[in-house]
Symmetry: C2
Subunit: 428 residues, 2 copies
Amino acid sequence: MNARLPHQLTASEIVQAIAAGKTTAVAVAESCLGHITEREPQLGAWHYLDPELVLAQARALDQRGSIGPLQGVPVGIKDIIDTADMPTEYGTPIHQGRRPGIDAACVALTRRAGGLIMGKTVTTEFANFFPGKTRNPFDPQRTPGGSSSGSAAAVGAGMVPLGVGTQTTASTIRPAAFCGCVGYRPTWGDLRCAGVMEASGSLDTLGLIARSIEDVALYRDVLLGVAPEALPADSAAPRIGFCRSHIWDQCEADTQRQIEACAAKLAGAGAKVSDVTLPGEFTRIEDAHRWISSFEFARNRAWEIDHHWEMISERLRSNRIRDGLDCRYETYRDARDFLERQRLVLDDLMADYDVLLTPSVAGEAPIGLHSTGNASFCAIWTSTHVPAVTLPLFKGPNGLPVGVQLIGKRNNDRRLFAAARWVQRAWD
Amino acid sequence: MNARLPHQLTASEIVQAIAAGKTTAVAVAESCLGHITEREPQLGAWHYLDPELVLAQARALDQRGSIGPLQGVPVGIKDIIDTADMPTEYGTPIHQGRRPGIDAACVALTRRAGGLIMGKTVTTEFANFFPGKTRNPFDPQRTPGGSSSGSAAAVGAGMVPLGVGTQTTASTIRPAAFCGCVGYRPTWGDLRCAGVMEASGSLDTLGLIARSIEDVALYRDVLLGVAPEALPADSAAPRIGFCRSHIWDQCEADTQRQIEACAAKLAGAGAKVSDVTLPGEFTRIEDAHRWISSFEFARNRAWEIDHHWEMISERLRSNRIRDGLDCRYETYRDARDFLERQRLVLDDLMADYDVLLTPSVAGEAPIGLHSTGNASFCAIWTSTHVPAVTLPLFKGPNGLPVGVQLIGKRNNDRRLFAAARWVQRAWD
């Protein structure tokens, strides 16, 4: 057994330790529960957590007689994802006490692999703007980012090694970056969202939050429902396109300097790094994203709008929902068509690179809990359906984590992981 | 008031009659309930129908003081679509008594427009192979088609003017064709599926079943959440590509003759009709469709597979689920990528046409209730995400309806409707 406590291990280390008989699912669960007891009052990462249910799952796993690929690994599940044995309340009082009675596909696949559903993590209201109670694990005055706030804060604070979130704009990469985690948004369409509240189906994906890229790769295979395959032991230095993007000036000066230094360091370590300029049309992507996400969101929530209007936050009503209700179908359709074309443009642009290197966020998590931060550095890539990883490489001027984002080619998520691991090692 | 009884009217006629004060939602509902009482014992279209709940809705609509675009129109909802006030059981005993407590987006938008949710219509098991109790309204020895069996049978039998189904392969067009209805599968992605059981998200859409193309156009606008816009009063003769397709030999000889006669008649009426040959790669579409639909279905149903395996039909287990569990991720991903490319190929091919004319089904509904019929004539178009309409133009050798299918361009569903109306008028 490692000298670290069980709750400090990565998912892969937990599975290895359990397989080697050095610890048990119960011991891991107790360690996590202990750490949660200590940190949760300040952090507010959990919307629902029943220690008895956790320990009952852990005991059942220890008695199962087989070692799954996520054996005994505690996972936090964003509270827009259905769980058979816990409530799922979408971050709104409208759905208080809602119990769907079926596990979402990703939850069932997690349990099949031996994973332990620790509880439900805080989401913003309907996975949108209005924040929940969660605070940043590195500074309680600051936002953890959103909308997968609780999953990122729980992983960042060492409560659980894995968290599941979703991303429609920046909802996984941004909180992972603010909370010092590895975050992953998959190629759109790869991981099933059955049983997950739809915010905007044309953009939604699951998102994974972890402590290592190896854990992300492992959990992705579990959620694809395939036998996990370790990343290759070694990989060649990647061809990296350094993409400041057309919104580089939204990036804080310190972040700009650090990412430029990172690009230089990676080149020094053997990567072929060259500057990439995005096509001029990409400046229109964020607008298209806003129309699509608002149009679809407003229709998806028709029941709540008609039956519980007064329980929806003013911020959600007067932004996303108002935009969506005002949007003409033709505007929506043209935006969808525009993004489909930009995906093909990006496919071509990426032919010469393994990954793009670009900001995850503008800088450290901003002070205050009223906003979850700038989403623009993610919206470009969410809209183009490419896979993205954020790595916690830097610290900002206040010592808080700032992620750097790597963008892969559509349908080549494993190549992105290999490149991300190379970058992580070259950086370390 | 028309001499016909209220349950015999189209949706548009019901709205007009109510707006003109010639009938009420209660009178329409009572007429439909009366006809259902008469036909349902033989037909088995309904999985859940509570007359008291229907009449309570109708009374509330009559008191609402405003006339919605679907005012007082009774609608049958496929039982994989969530309803706040009725059970939703997915065509399986596993989910007996399931009450989701929220309306699916399409149900909430229907109610917002003044529509009346008549009840839940029979679906095959998980909207897949294994049939429900429903029989064909024109011959009880024959299948109504599936998986939207109850919605098509209910509309075909004159129980309700509108039905909502879904389509992942042929599940709307085929039963609509077998039951003598107008059926519509929209451009993939247009109509929100929040609250609808996901079979295979890369292929799933809602599907609408009606008595006229005008009703389809009206209901589509309601479900898009936009103000309904009538089809233009007149439209030019369309450019029609007559597409026998590479599976023409699966079409029964009588159907072949009738579709060829139809093409000739439409040309005679002024349409520019020319033969279209699909690219050779299209022969691979059905295989790609099978991998994608099976891979996704098997993961979406992970909870049922792990907790209720013995309650899943042997047919579903040994076909769709087995295929899905056996399918490698790379096979699935390559199939998805292949279909994405074929969509662009079809976009190009359709540049010279307004619509394609092609079979909906091989012929009349087959005898027997064990199978829901040949799906191949729909799989091509489902996979390529184009909108499709089936019109009940023919009768087969036994006097049963046989649909003909019109295929539109992606994102141009209204142009498809205009062409379909032109075809319907030219045929009449």
